[in-house]
């Protein structure tokens, strides 16, 4: 999508259609089906002869709108029928029906604008002879015809939702937070496990020792980290480091004892 512009004179042809994907690139067929005419042929006719065309080429769009369970007196006064924006305007009668007058032939999107209720827009095609057809609005596949009944039957599809919910704070949100779960669960395990497992029971102790030994299959094998420290430790502090190292090197078997020694000393 980068158009390098050599000088100022390059004419840029819009790449819009190609971007819209295969549906449009293939869709070079006429937008309306053959029975529908070209819309009014532009300037000379549209502007010059407008007064003369007034009766001959102007049609009515008729329809009925309904909101389920609400009487039209309540919603109709605040709603308005808009055809292609504010180009043509119609009002809704007290029985829910509406008429938009003086619409020239062409293709239009009819929309009911209400500040409360939501209505689906409908595309209405009018031939030059005044034949009408209603279909679903599809801005991407503009030639697709999903026919709808005419006179229009527009039903409310719900209320407009203008507001978003505030994020409220609750204990469940707090507790279900993954960070909290990560913190709280180990804490619970640390606190509760010693209570559950009786460490003073010798049978249990033996069992644990065995399981620990299972984890450390060969206590005689020197630890890799230890080897490293031995290698890279400065020779001057060799004695101290080796002593501490040897202390830890024994840990293979002895640390377990040492650890368990703690509570016993108490």
């Amino acid at each position: 999508m980068v158009f390098k512009c050599p000088g100022g004179a390059a004419v840029l042809i819009s790449a819009v259609l190609c971007v819209f994907g295969p549906c449009l690139c293939g869709g070079q067929q006429p937008v309306l089906s053959p029975e529908l005419p070209e819309p009014l042929a532009g300037g000379e006719v549209g502007e010059g002869g407008e007064a003369a065309l007034l009766t001959a080429d102007r049609f009515q769009i008729e329809g009925r709108a309904a909101v389920y369970g609400v009487r039209p007196e309540i919603w109709a006064p605040s709603a308005v029928v808009l055809v292609d924006g504010e180009e043509h305007v119609g009002f809704i009668r007290l029985d829910g029906s509406f008429t938009v007058n003086d619409v020239p032939s062409g293709s239009y999107v009819v929309q009911i604008a209400s500040p409360v209720y939501k209505f689906e827009p409908v595309r209405v095609d009018i031939t030059s002879k005044g034949k009408m057809r209603a279909r679903r609005v599809n801005y991407i596949r503009t030639s697709e015809v999903l026919q709808l009944p005419y006179p229009l039957q527009i039903r409310c599809t719900g209320l407009h939702s203008y507001f978003i919910e505030r994020e409220t704070w609750g204990w469940s949100d707090f507790l279900m937070n993954p960070m909290v779960l990560m913190m709280v669960l180990p804490l619970v395990i640390i606190l509760l496990l010693p209570k559950v497992i009786n460490t003073n029971d010798p049978a249990m102790r033996q069992e644990m020792e065995q399981s620990m030994n299972m984890l450390n299959p060969n206590p005689d094998l020197p630890d890799v980290s230890e080897l490293m420290t031995k290698f890279f430790a400065p020779p001057k502090s060799h004695s101290s480091s080796s002593s501490s190292g040897s202390g830890s090197s024994k840990s293979g078997g002895g640390s377990q004892r040492g650890h368990r020694g703690g509570p016993r000393r108490r």
């Binding site: 042809i13 819009v16 532009g42 007196e73 009002f91 008429t99 604008a113 978003i164």
Partner: protein, 964 residues
Amino acid sequence: MAGLCSVFSVCLCLLGFSAAVFEDQVGKFDWRQQFVGKVQFALFDTHSQASKKLLVATEKNIFASLNSRTGDLFWRHVDKTGPDGHIDTFMMHGQDAVVVVGNGRLLRSWETTVGGLNWETVLDTGSFQSAAYIGVQDVVRYVAVLKKSAISLHYLSNGHQKWVENLPESDTVQYQTVYSGGNGQVFVLGVVPNSHIVIVEYNIEDGEIMKQKSVAAPWLSSLQSSCVMVGSGVLLCADPTTKSLYTFPLQSADQTTMTPILLESLGVEVAAGFQPVLISTQPHPARPPLSEFFLQLGPDYHILLQLKDGLVSTLRDFNPSYLVAFATTGEKTVAAVMSPKNETASVINLYSADTGRRLLDTTIIYSMDPNGGKPAKLYIHAFLKKDDSVGYRVLVQTEDLVLTFLQQPGRVVWSREEALADVVTMEMVDLPLTGTQAELEGEFGKKADGLLPMVLKRLSSQFILLQAWMSHLWKLFYDARKPRSHVKNEVTFETLSRDEFNLQKMMVMVTASGKLFGIDSKSGTVLWKQYLENIQPNSVFKLMVQRTTAHFPHPPQCTLLVKDKDTGLGSLYVFNPIFGKKSHISVPALPRPILQSLLLPLMDQDYSKVLLLIDDQYKVTAFPSTKNVLQQLQEMASSIFFYLVDSSQGRLSGFRLRKDLSTELIWEVVIPTEVQKIVGVKGKRANEHVHSQGRVMGDRSVLYKYLNPNLLAVVTESTDSHQERSFVGIFLIDGVTGRIVHEAVQRKARGPVHFVHSENWVVYVYWNTKSRRNEFSVLELFEGMELYNSTVFSSLDRPRPPQVLQQSYIFPSPISTLEATLTEKGITSRHLLVGLPSGAIMSLPKMFLDPRRPEVASDQSREENLIPYSPEMPIRTEWFINYNQTVSRVRGIYTAPSGLESTCLVVAYGLDIYQTRVYPSKQFDVLKDDYDYVLISSVLLGLFFATMISKRLAEVKLLNRAWR
């Protein structure tokens, strides 16, 4: 694929950004005011005594009902603009109102309590002349509509046509009036100018012509302007040349000439050159009009006359009197007359219509606004009091479109500023500092003082601040005790001061009628208004803030350039935007048409920015033009450039200022007018800041923006409007050098084009004629991976053209207007504010209009937070910043930065005015209003106590261990 993409993007927008409103924020910082425009017809619902309905039909093609107790709207129906929606006439009977719309094209009946449409009938073509209710035996059954060549009768109950008849000899006779006295006849009156009157009587049942006769009236040119029906079927006409009245009874069988009555015989004189105006009244449509009528003999002179047995007698002479009106309640008809009292007030009195006697205790004093216009129309709401005497309220419309509703003895019940229905341009001006704040500011300005006085001053100002804070706290405490409804934040000039975050500003609005308003942006209260008289109706206005409130001893200053569209002659009006007072600064005379005006960042000694006005001989006038300014201009002249647009010749030209304030042409771009015409030229806003010079890409390199402050976006439309050949062109032109930086053509497209030009991008909307939909297109300009000259931008030294990226999107709705948000420093992300025809204002994140949106999401694009491309732009009602407060016919959106970086002030104007704030990147710099103080303080307290307790426990434990 597209579906997947859209689902993904929807997810993204749910996560990422929201411009939505929370339900509890409704009305907290936003307000809407609804208007109807200049009233053409106004009727009070007299159906029942308790009714408070006032029905109005206005020049803005609006039919509405107002609450006559409060002035609020009950309901309002906005028809389409232009002559097709024009309301020709409006009549009311009982609960229903009948309206003729669009030069007699439609006949509508409205139910007035809820505002619903009863029925609607399309009438035959033909220019509308008049309409009347037709009553039979005291009951109104039909409505008759008279067109140029036909008359039709419709049932009042369902609008069905009873009959339609062509009028005889309609090519020579101008039929203008239809009349029915309520006895089953329909009279149609026509005139052949300066020859004779034609009277045709129709049968009400089948439309058959019963009688047809003509009466010689060689002095008469129009029935509508000089004739009325009076009494039981008497045609009364006024002739200014012979200074006489003519009467003719319609039902008379043998009379063939009109009976003249000389005005001199009544003892009255017509003002020289004045066309006398007759005013009569028909209280009930099924009964004949009253035999009393007003005759206006001069601009301020009316008399009340009575026609009895073919003789006219004077009931009362009102000299001087501005306005008169009839009103009926029950069986009584009264006449209200407004006459001058003194220079600032008028007095309205009621007179009995049948005798001309003044009714006691019926005086209303109407005091005129010295900054407003004269009263123009009078509407009376009469009612019967308990003692059967007539009481009344009066609605006055003035020339500056103020509707005032008054009751005895002159109390204003409500008033509406209908001029605000047509706002042309506006500015937001910072409010001045309070006295204490100004004191503090002043402290830093002076330098001469020694150390000790400085310390003392510091202390004293701190004390003042403390005092102010204490009084503020006291007020808060005091208000908190009162019930909520009693606390009123009345905004007056005394309380008007800048708030902490500069969120409250003064909105200066210019209306098409030439009335200026100063409105407080927080509450919407009109603080000042000024009516500029002698403004031509087709003037164009340009409002400029020459001096802001930042230069304390000097008052802020706004300048309004009023330009007549036809002659191009301009005039300047200089005023203080806070108080609305006209400034006494002498304004340069502008004898020649003005082509262009520009506000320079140069300042005079008194801190007012220099305004340059270029006339049609390319001579420059500076305002203010003091010596200092002229000297600065001479120094700076070589770097002051400006451009002119001549759309009729398709020419854009750039000029440079010379030292002697003449100009030289530097460049010229001609866009051939045979092919395309210029529809819009936009530069960037002067107060716009761009925070970041570039965009960080996914691979951590920087793509630098092309930030040319002199860039102009020029939009053209093809003259050929055929759907296959029409196109929309956009040119980006450097305003200094005239170089065309970029040029793009959108084929098979037409206007109306709305576009926004800001930072390094241009967004424009056009109509795709092939696919019949609106499309957004965005152009973004980048310098590339390195910046050419990072310290300063010069249009003259830019060897490389910018890289241009473009992308287009479908927008599933038409568009009324387009604007971009603006913040103080430009750090906050931008949103586009889109005004939709349904009245909603949508805040669309600029993120959706990014030409770098990839077709397929990659890791790098995800790193950059780019949304994958989807052709259709979503419209989500959560993005509607005005929720259900729709703004009808939105014409413009004004955005202004506030003191908070996150907040942008928005005013949408059209028929209504809506003011709100938007937070494009949410409120990142202040605590949100839903900030949970309770939670945070409880957590803090909890932690505090926990540490205390655990400390204590640890101490105990240590002690125990030591003892062991």
